[in-house]
């Protein structure tokens, strides 16, 4: 369980997050939505200790990340798999080595077992047989799927997705959404999906947290969205749905963020 308490964060004079508190329950898929620049990714990075809050705390399984020693933090991070926005594949290595990388450092598997595990992960993301390719030879969607395969290689307890479908065509987006649901249901991982793709939210999420104007504006089950609980949220949801699956769905960066 990830619990966030009164978290505030700013960069210089720019305030990004202000007094945010919520929790991610074990086994659920929580979608964090909001406009671009509303601090969704920043919030997600706090959950793995990549950023330190200016105020407040982040607890992972009861351990406070803010005060943890670096060694302890690293141990906690091994429970996470993170899918970064651009994939963040190591471009000096080929696809196979990218997925095998965490296995080589953090598992006791033999090289044949590693090979088997890599193939298994690749088949989970429907990408058999691309192991020898370099990340630069892959398309954007393939790169994200390889990155996802790498994120799940060590069978993490939590998976964080940063904009998993942004910049992808509708079909690939659907594949990714299905993968998220599949992983969540089959492997019983706890997922946090940062997105502004409402289609993605509706197909894979259990609950939704809406960030607006540096605050956690609304949080609730995904079914409640149909009841139009909040006018600002409603406007965001409608705008997104209108551009379903289209990369230009990103709401332009606004001055108020």
């Amino acid at each position: 369980m990830i619990r966030i308490e009164h978290l505030s964060k700013g960069f210089g004079s720019l305030e990004v997050l202000n007094d945010i508190s919520f929790e991610v329950r074990d086994g659920e898929t929580l979608a964090i939505i909001g406009r671009s620049g509303s601090g969704k990714s920043v919030l997600m990075k706090h959950m793995v200790g990549l950023l330190k809050p200016d105020a407040g705390h982040v607890h992972v399984d009861g351990r406070d990340l803010c005060c943890a020693e670096y060694g302890e933090l690293r141990e906690l991070r091994k429970r996470f798999g993170v899918l970064f926005q651009g994939g963040a594949l190591f471009d000096s290595m080929d696809t196979f080595d990218n997925i095998a990388f965490p296995l080589e450092y953090f598992s006791d598997l033999t090289s044949s077992e590693v090979e088997a595990r890599v193939e298994e992960c690749l088949s989970l993301v429907n990408l058999e047989g691309v192991g020898a390719k370099k990340p630069s030879e892959l398309s954007g969607g393939m790169r994200k799927r390889v990155a996802l395969a790498r994120a799940i290689a060590l069978e993490p307890q939590y998976i964080l997705y940063d904009e998993p479908t942004s910049g992808l065509d509708p079909e690939t987006s659907n594949t990714i959404d299905q993968l998220i649901s599949h992983l969540s249901d089959e492997l019983n991982v706890t997922s946090v999906v940062v997105t502004h793709d409402m289609h993605s939210v509706l197909t894979s999420a259990d609950r939704v947290a809406f960030l607006h104007d540096t605050n956690l504006h609304w949080i609730g089950p995904v079914d409640a969205l149909h009841d139009r609980p909040d006018p600002v949220l409603d406007a965001f949801v409608r705008a997104s749905e209108y551009h379903l699956g289209d990369p230009s769905a990103s709401v332009p960066l606004t001055q108020d963020s």
Binding site: K45, V48, L50, Y70, R74, E75, R77, K78, F80, V82, F84, Q85, G86, A88, L89, F90, D91, F101, P102, Y105, F106, L154
Partner: protein, 253 residues
């Protein structure tokens, strides 16, 4: 007023961040076995792959120094072996190691800064971190260590080939025979000279790699940021090579 303070504090802040990064690198020394293959990989990239360019630069600086020294000392009252006693210590103490430092600031420093900068902006460093790896230990330490270990090797190559180049040009160019050259070199040889060159090489190795790692590791704002880091790494390395050169000369000679 606050912008002035900011202006005054920013170098201090940079120094602080740099020192903390190096302290983190030093703290991850006990993990170096984990990153063993990384270390050797960097030693090859920083060291072995630089041998050709460093040798080339060494050979030419030695040759030019010999020709110019013999031009300046063209006098019947000065024994020609003096050319050897000027060229060899100059190569050992200063020329080979500083020329090498400048070249590697561009070749090694810029490459490290660009590499780490790209890894930073494409979140590869974050990816390493969330996997539970120590990104400083994984990326910074092997590079700095490889620099400190391989720059002396490059110095030996540059110096040996530089002196060889000087002898060859002097001999076949008809300025000074190899025998005279070596006699002069031996006459005024100070045993500390090559060790001083080694000390400089180690220092420059640390300067080039650590500044490049610092600039690359803390790159911000995309492709432009990577470009800035790369340029700054090369320029700052050259500046600090000169500063360190002076400090070492004043304190150790």
């Amino acid at each position: 007023m606050s912008s002035l303070l900011e202006f005054l504090f920013s170098p201090l802040r940079a120094l602080g961040r740099y020192s903390i990064l190096m302290a983190r690198a030093a703290a991850s020394l006990d993990e170096i076995r984990t990153y063993w293959s990384n270390l050797f990989d960097q030693m090859v990239r920083i060291g072995i792959d630089s041998i050709p360019i460093v040798s080339l630069a060494g050979a030419f600086s030695g040759a030019v120094l010999t020709v110019q020294t013999s031009y300046q000392l063209e006098s019947p009252f000065i024994p020609r072996s003096i050319i050897g006693s000027i060229v060899v210590p100059s190569m050992m103490l200063e020329l080979s190691v500083v020329v090498m430092g400048f070249i590697l600031a561009g070749r090694v420093g810029a490459r490290i800064a660009a590499e780490l900068g790209t890894m930073r902006v494409s979140e590869q460093i974050d990816a390493l971190e969330v996997m539970g790896l120590n990104s400083v230990g994984f990326l910074v330490l092997p590079r700095v260590l490889a620099g400190v270990l391989m720059f002396p090797v490059l110095y030996v190559a540059s110096c040996a080939i530089g002196i060889g180049g000087g002898v060859a040009v002097g001999h076949f160019g008809g300025f000074i025979t190899a025998g005279e050259f070596m006699d002069g070199a031996r006459q005024f040889f100070k045993p500390f000279d090559p060790f001083f060159g080694l000390i400089k090489a180690v220092t420059f190795g640390f300067i080039v790699t650590s500044i490049a790692c610092y600039k690359g590791y803390y790159t911000t704002s995309g492709a432009e940021g990577v470009g800035d880091s790369t340029t700054e790494a090369a320029v700052l390395s050259c500046v600090f090579i000169l500063v360190a050169d002076l400090i070492l000369a004043v304190t150790l000679l």
